[in-house]
Amino acid sequence: MLEIKNLKASVNGNLILKGIDFTVNEGEVHAIMGPNGSGKSTLAQVLAGHEAYDVSEESSVTFLGQNLLELPAEERARAGLFLAFQYPVEIPGVSNAHFLRAALNEIRVSRGLEELDAIDFEDLLKEKMELMNVPATFAERFVNLGFSGGEKKRNEILQLAVMEPRLAILDESDSGLDIDALRIVSEGINLLRSPQRAFILVTHYQRLLNYVTPDFVHVLYKGRIVRSGGKELALELEERGYDWIKDEVMAAA
């Protein structure tokens, strides 16, 4: 469903993604790991359509048969792409419920579905909140305002559950969570797994992958995928760190 070819992106003239290739098929879970500053969030943001990044003419990204790079961010979301942010922003004055209803209805309208009225949405939100195990107070609180780091991450997963995308990119949704919250978030992700839905999990920790088993693990380093493998690769990284991979990259250069 997602095919990335030679993806190069720069910001203010600095090349950050230096040619990335990989393919995600329906139902798959891909983990992307890598040291700080290697470009993981940049990849996520570029896929979501952030305009701060200049994408090279040579690059191509196809998502469900469409040229993703041509679409503005909102149309990517409507096409079924979702990004859970590493640092979700706070939106004073806009309640979670209001925000999510607006988002869901935009997506429904773009798919030719009826808009949900406030009452139907209320039911849907309640169901999703129970499913994702978030406190009932989330609905009326302003989006992320005054949320703890962990609450923000859980709120992103709640949004994911409401929006039901085809491809979900989770940028460190597991960082900053205590053990209980991590279990809740992972269970949420597992509940949302389906043969039609794919995940890209950006993470630093094997912890998450113990709960959500990836089909593929990629290591991103200095803007390139330097190694790909199965779930054992994550275990190996957990044990040995990144130095051996860095050394290999150095030796190859």
Partner: protein, 446 residues
């Protein structure tokens, strides 16, 4: 060649001649004297102009240069209650006092029963009642903001709204004053006046709603509100300025608070050409608290000027000033939060914040805190922001499928809504929310 001074004199002569035609109607001597004092002060005071510090950023020469006629006592068309009902609060229990060009109209007001001893109605009637003593004591008693226009309001004082709550009485239903301006064929001025006196330990909620039924004629609503709170009294006060596009508005509220009293003020400027919304509070007793919230929604070429000042005269006072503005088009807003802490006012706790959301690059804001602190053991903070919605926030919306235009609408409504939550009564909050939604929300998210 006529000089500025000559021109001013001409304008003043116009008002003085209008003034000389005020019918006397058996007014008591003290009221006539009060009017004469107003007329004197008016004649001896320069029109507000940008050479004056308080008016430096607010040019009202358009108002100064217009010779407004006094609005007729009875409007050309006979108004029914139906015509004014759209302005009523969505709360059937509310007292609805209708004033047309500053004069009380009892037949189209709605007057549910109020607790024993509470007065809500006309100043003119009160003067002829046992409450005359209260009116005489307080009317015109606390004019901190003396300028040519507040003086003019007093010079033309013939009627107004009067609310009186006796000691320890709690008025649970809101009192809504509808100040309706209906100008004549020429540019006309109305002089609405409000006097509210809350005795010791009493409590009430009052809203003054400035509106007009005129479609084209230019006018000026020149309003003065005086509010006196006894010890431990509590007042929720809301002022909604919703003038027509060709209507200018100058409003000055004077609030005098005795010890441990609480004033919760919400001043919203929704519409009107040039609107100056001023509130001057004196915390005259120990431990008095006031909250002044100002919301202004500007667009087109409109100008709003919000001036909130708090004079802390006694210890343990608390003041909270918050201004929020949304500016579109070529509009301009001025915001000034002024806090004066007297040497006796130790343990003062004062905060002010002004936030402005710019929806257009041509709109502008001038915001300034002014603190004068003469006591040493006080806490005073201030802050101001002016800006457009941040790109990162807009991107977050877009990443959820919400277009940038819809995102801006939601953010704008949310920005206003945060302050609207602070408005005193439910009906007012609903009214303001609906207004903001209709103005800023993209259709699909309403």
């Amino acid at each position: 060649m006529s000089t500025v001074k000559d021109k001013q004199d001409l304008k003043k002569a116009h008002y003085v001649s209008e003034w000389s035609r005020i019918p006397l109607n058996g007014d008591p001597i003290w009221l006539k004297q009060l009017r004469i004092r107003g007329a004197h002060l008016f004649r001896d005071t320069e029109f507000p102009n940008t050479r004056m510090e308080e008016w430096r950023r607010t040019n009202i020469s358009i108002i100064n240069n217009t010779s407004y006629r006094s609005t007729p006592a009875s409007p050309p068309i006979a108004l029914t209650q139906k015509a004014v009902e759209p302005f009523f609060l969505k709360n059937p229990a509310a007292t609805e006092l209708v004033f047309i060009n500053g004069r009380y109209n009892k037949t189209i007001s709605r007057l549910p029963a109020l607790p024993e001893g509470v007065a809500a109605g006309s100043l003119r009637r009160a003067i002829q009642s046992p409450l005359a003593r209260v009116v005489k004591t307080h009317l015109g008693s606390c004019l901190q903001a003396r300028n040519a226009y507040t003086a003019l309001n007093t010079a033309f004082l013939q009627d107004g709204a009067f609310v009186y709550v006796p000691k320890n009485i709690l008025v649970e239903t809101p009192i809504h004053i509808i100040a309706l301006t209906i100008p004549g064929q020429e540019p006309s001025a109305a002089y609405p006046r409000v006097l509210a006196v809350l005795e010791d330990g009493s409590q009430a909620s009052i809203t003054t709603h400035f509106v007009s039924l005129s479609e084209h004629q230019p006018y000026l609503a020149n309003a003065v509100e005086e509010i006196i709170l006894g010890p431990n009294a509590q007042l929720d006060y809301c002022r909604l300025v919703e003038e027509k596009a060709q209507g200018n508005h100058l409003a000055t509220a004077e609030v005098r608070q005795d010890q441990n009293s609480r004033f919760n003020g919400f001043m919203a400027v929704l519409d009107g050409n040039i609107v100056r919304s001023q509130v001057c509070v004196e915390l005259a007793g120990d431990g008095a608290e006031c909250q002044l919230n100002g919301l202004y929604l500007n667009d087109g070429h409109r100008l709003t000027d919000t001036q909130f000042s708090v004079l802390h005269s006694r210890p343990h006072g608390l003041s909270r000033i918050t201004g929020k503005g949304i500016l579109d088009g070529d509009s301009k807003a001025v915001f000034l939060g002024k806090v004066y802490v007297h040497p006796d006012a130790q343990k003062t706790d004062s905060r002010q914040l002004n936030q402005n959301l710019l929806l257009s690059e041509r709109a502008s804001v001038e915001t300034k805190p002014q603190l004068e602190i003469y006591a040493d053991d006080v806490k005073c903070t201030h802050g101001a922001t002016v800006g457009a919605p941040p790109q990162e926030v807009l991107f977050y919306f877009r990443s959820r499928g919400i277009s940038e235009a819809a995102a801006r609408g939601m953010l704008t409504c949310g920005f206003a809504q945060e302050l609207i939550e602070e408005a005193p009564t439910h009906a007012i909050r609903e009214y303001l929310s609906a207004h903001v939604l209709a103005k800023y929300a993209p259709k699909e998210i309403r």
